[in-house]
């Protein structure tokens, strides 16, 4: 296989090399091998493109998380009231949740419970975080999905079955939460 790859990547192939590549391409063994190569090649996969995008835009997500905490009243005051263990719980839950719906449910329940027990500022903190997730999806995840050609969630493409729009959104939101929870933890000790 490496020798085949090396021959195909030759920039200016000689006529003999062209003949060899063409002969290989029409041979019965070519189709399964070339198909395997295209599937295993990560270079053009949407998931690879998206993960690369996420790495290059990680700082933007970190800046957004910091800005959200410091410029939103519900968050900047709530961060001093919510206990540190909750930030760790948020961070760990975001890592473990398989879908964005699960993560949203976790945060929504936190808010509902605090409101039911009369802790309105803590409830506001969780509700505001929930609304921030939607704006992260709109401002970061959606453009990234488009830029990286990530297939839609209802796509029936077998090749992209494991990575679609929903997964991309989850990864972006998860990264945001990581920055958000860490900054909350830091601020609560610094200003608390």
């Amino acid at each position: 296989m490496p020798s085949v790859c090396a021959r195909i990547s030759v920039r200016d192939p000689s006529p003999i090399q062209v003949f060899a590549i063409n002969a290989f391409a029409v041979s019965p063994i070519a189709f399964p091998i070339l198909d395997l190569m295209s599937v295993s090649s990560t270079r053009s996969q949407p998931e690879t493109r998206f993960r690369s995008w996420l790495r290059l835009h990680d700082q933007d997500l970190a800046d957004r998380a910091k800005e959200d905490i410091e410029s939103t009243d519900e968050l900047s005051s709530g961060v001093l009231k919510v206990s540190t263990s909750q930030f760790r719980a948020l961070h760990n839950t975001a890592k473990m949740c398989a879908t964005l719906t699960d993560l949203r449910r976790f945060i929504r329940k936190r808010g509902e419970r605090r409101r039911a027990s009369g802790q309105s500022s803590k409830a506001d903190y969780w509700d505001t975080l929930l609304s921030k997730l939607s704006s992260v999806q709109d401002d970061f995840a959606d453009p990234a999905v488009q830029a990286c050609d990530v297939p839609a969630a209802d796509s029936d493409s077998i090749r992209h079955k494991t990575f679609d729009e929903r997964t991309a959104h989850l990864l972006a939101v998860r990264r945001y939460i990581e920055h958000f929870a860490t900054h909350c933890q830091y601020v609560s000790q610094r200003d608390g």
């Binding site: 290059l56 990680d58 830091y186 000790q189 610094r190």
Partner: protein, 188 residues
């Protein structure tokens, strides 16, 4: 005379990467040489924070961990998040990091190094020739998209590399400061 060896996007990437490396190498010594980067005061503050272990030897674990995190990080925020999460812990380790505001000073210093690195990234981007950008540009990509992609990449590389170097210097300075070699230095 145009450089004919730059024919593919990978070639262009290598040329730009070399410019980033040269800039980071050139700047690295400044972190040690100039006082405004606070490497020495922060290293001394770290030795105050982390103290000694039960055998009376310097407790190097935290600084070693910081250096390891920095060297293996793929983004700048991984390094900063590590400092933040250590400072945000409500345990003895957290108290050590917050002792006399060490974690906050380190956080602010890393942010300063980052913003300076981003400023220099802009200069590198300004110096990229039109021909080089054209090679870097992908076939199905507009010029503005290619510029944006290039800008994100250069800024990311500069942030990460500069802060990695800075933390490397800080960890080395700390190791020297807590070592016997420093105690034997005249005037120490």
């Amino acid at each position: 005379m145009p450089n004919t060896s730059i024919r593919t996007a990978d070639d262009a990437r290598q040329v730009i990467q070399r410019r980033i490396d040269e800039d980071v190498d050139g700047r690295s010594d400044a972190y040690i040489l100039y006082d405004n980067y606070q490497v020495k005061p922060l290293a001394r503050a770290a030795s105050d924070c982390f103290g000694t272990d039960s055998n009376g030897r310097p407790n190097r674990t935290q600084m070693r961990k910081l250096e390891r995190v920095a060297l293996s990080a793929s983004t700048y925020s991984e390094i900063l998040n590590y400092v933040k999460s250590q400072a945000g812990r409500d345990t003895r380790t957290g108290e050590e990091w917050r002792h006399r505001g060490f974690a906050y000073d380190l956080h602010n210093q890393l942010e300063d190094v980052r913003s300076e690195a981003e400023g220099r990234a802009e200069k590198i981007l300004d110096g990229i020739e039109r021909a080089l950008l054209k090679v870097y540009q992908q076939e199905d990509e507009s010029k503005s998209d290619a510029e944006k992609r290039l800008s994100n990449w250069v800024r990311h590389e500069m942030r990460l590399r500069c802060v990695q170097r800075y933390v490397g210097h800080l960890a080395a300075e700390y190791a020297y400061f807590v070592s016997d070699a420093y105690a034997d230095t005249p005037g120490a």
